[in-house]
């Protein structure tokens, strides 16, 4: 470490400081914490702290612009006694279960097709991935119009093909149809993630395994069952876990498409939390609803750490 000129005292002191900082930055015990501090502060202030507040709100009778009191688990009890919440609870499982199952089945099929030799690979992949990159709130708006009660293009097509009886269902106004619509849009938007990720898993399976299975007389079905599926398992596990937490906590699609209606039949935790917490101002109850997402988060994190990523960082 050469210090340029030996001259006045002040520059020398400054140079010495410079050298010390430089040396400090070369020490891992210093540089490491220094590098993670910004991220750590951000996450403490804007993730950990709000989480503690969410728990506090959930245990209090907070109302917008009013001092609050500790009420224990009264919010949670009140929620269980409300029809809207019980409906939401059920919706969340129906919505997540059906959506993830459909995305998985369709995703595997689509990935298998995409892994075949194709003429326009890039264009096709681009088209497949498109629903995933377009702002969900805006594309869902397009679906609202497609499901419109009077001018639905879905109904028009169904009627033209003879698949529906006139006048066709009011998709967003009837409870089961509304749930079907919400699931459809979620599958539409989430399928690319499944397909592209599973495709990456498919491509990484060594060709020799298929050749070996083929020379042992395995047909396409048994090759899929005994070679592809077992080797895809880790990828499928990750994709399912990811999708479960983000489907369960979905907000955008339901908010734009149905606002939770008709009569709460499509509400999910996030949309109900917003309605109770912001629109009616009962923040305590709203926070309690949001916290119902937490056990699912814990499960997904646990499963990922336990089975999928033994070594996290």
């Amino acid at each position: 470490m050469a210090i340029g000129h030996i001259g006045l005292a002040a520059p020398r002191a400054r140079a010495a400081l410079h050298v010390r900082v430089r040396e400090l930055l070369d020490r891992e015990w210093f540089l490491g914490p220094a590098f993670v501090t910004p991220a750590l502060l951000l996450l403490l202030l804007l993730v950990a702290y709000p989480f503690v507040m969410a728990v506090y709100f959930a245990l209090s009778d907070s109302f917008i612009g009013r001092p609050s009191h500790f009420v224990g688990i009264r919010n949670f009890i009140a929620l269980w006694e409300s029809d809207a919440f019980r409906q939401t609870f059920q919706n969340a499982f129906v919505f997540t279960g059906i959506s993830v199952a459909l995305k998985l089945g369709l995703g595997i099929s689509l990935a298998l097709l995409l892994s075949q030799p194709l003429w326009f690979t890039r264009a096709i992949r681009g088209a497949v991935l498109l629903p995933w990159v377009i702002p969900t709130a805006l594309s869902t708006l397009g679906w609202v119009w497609m499901f419109d009660s009077l001018y639905s293009v879905v109904n028009w097509t169904g009627l033209a093909l003879g698949a529906l009886d006139p006048p066709g269902p009011n998709w967003l106004g009837q409870r089961y149809h509304a749930m079907a619509a919400v699931i459809t849009v979620n599958v539409w938007r989430g399928l690319p993630f499944f397909a592209i990720t599973i495709l990456a898993g498919l491509v990484s399976i060594p060709r020799e395994l298929y050749e070996a299975a083929e020379s042992d007389g395995a047909g396409p079905a048994s090759r899929f069952w005994y070679v592809t599926l077992p080797l895809l398992k880790p990828v499928l596990a990750i994709v399912i876990l990811f999708s479960t937490i983000f489907t369960f906590s979905d907000f955008n699609i339901v908010f734009v498409l149905t606002h939770g209606g008709p009569i709460n039949s499509t509400h999910l935790f996030a949309t109900l939390a917003r309605q109770i917490g912001l629109e009616t101002g009962r923040i305590g109850e709203g926070a309690a609803i949001s916290l119902y997402l937490f056990p699912v988060l814990v499960f997904v994190v646990w499963a990922q750490l336990r089975y999928v990523r033994r070594q996290v960082y």
């Binding site: 989480f51 075949q116 030799p117 805006l138 028009w156 990456a200 996290v312 960082y313």
Partner: protein, 282 residues
């Protein structure tokens, strides 16, 4: 020989045919959106018209109305402002954190890695209510700055996670060589590791940009004035008056609000494909 190649050819055709329903499902909503935005109101609300085509001539009136009679351009500007700042901020914070996780040994590195992974999985809808209070306390209620500081809560874990994977692929020796030659660690990071990890950085920027541009629940909760909201919120809230939907303008807004993402997408498709899998699988 000829028969085998003919069989391969017909298999290829079959694959394409089987893909058709998937492609129609993926693309039709966009086609219908664009079509609607170009139709005259008379045709839009004509129950006898065929909704799959434009028969009474295309029109730009909805776009004109959107750009001149609403604050749409302000919303786009807000979106750009928030997205660019949040992306830059998150990229810087994420890069140094990822480097520390990938390369440095220090007390607590394991716990921090787990913490980043956990926050990566935290959905925005879990914390938006208390976060709204934090935003108010910081004096950022109904300000786009609230979005600039809250978007990094999901962007930083994502960037860190993604970049950590890329940094690990840079051989340690390359870096050590530079350090033997007298470079400091920071110099080695800036001049050796980052240039090698450029594809990763591009990926991180693209995804951070896309995620912030598309973010909805925070934007909807933390901002409400017309001069602060982003494009997604503006189009979904301000263009709908009560129960009246102006479908032409709404679809024009949805189309234009997606344009920045589509432009990036067309140029960087391969990065999107690789980043999507890297984010989930690495």
């Amino acid at each position: 020989m000829a028969r085998a190649s003919r069989r391969r050819r017909s298999e290829k055709v079959a694959s394409h045919l089987l893909l058709v329903p998937f492609l129609v499902f993926a693309l039709f909503p966009f086609y219908h959106m664009a079509l609607t935005s170009l139709k005259t109101d008379r045709e839009l609300y004509d129950r006898a018209a065929v909704p799959l085509l434009i028969q009474q001539g295309p029109t730009l009136e909805h776009y004109v109305k959107l750009l001149w009679d609403t604050a749409f351009l302000t919303w786009i500007k807000n979106s750009l402002f928030v997205t660019l700042l949040a992306t830059t901020l998150s990229l810087v914070i994420g890069t140094v954190a990822a480097y520390a996780l990938a390369r440095l040994r220090f007390v607590g590195v394991g716990a921090f890695g787990t913490g980043i992974f956990v926050t990566y999985l935290v959905p925005t809808s879990l914390l938006f209510l208390p976060l709204a209070q934090v935003v108010n306390w910081l004096g950022l209620g109904d300000s786009k700055w609230a979005l600039v500081i809250t978007y990094p809560t999901f962007l930083v874990p994502f960037c860190t996670w993604l970049l950590m994977g890329y940094f690990r692929t840079v051989p340690r020796e390359v870096e050590e060589c530079a350090m033997v030659d007298g470079a400091t660690r920071v110099q080695a990071l800036l001049r050796i590791v980052l240039p090698i990890a450029v594809p990763g950085l591009v990926c991180a920027v693209l995804f951070a940009f896309t995620l912030s541009w598309n973010e909805f629940i925070y934007a909807l909760t933390f901002t409400s004035s017309s001069d602060q909201i982003t494009a997604s919120v503006g189009v979904t809230s301000e263009l709908i008056r009560g129960d009246i939907y102006y479908w032409g303008s709404l679809m024009a807004g949805a189309v234009l609000g997606s344009v920045p993402i589509v432009i990036l997408y067309v140029f960087f498709l391969d990065y999107y494909v690789s980043g999507l899998t890297a984010g989930a699988l690495k």
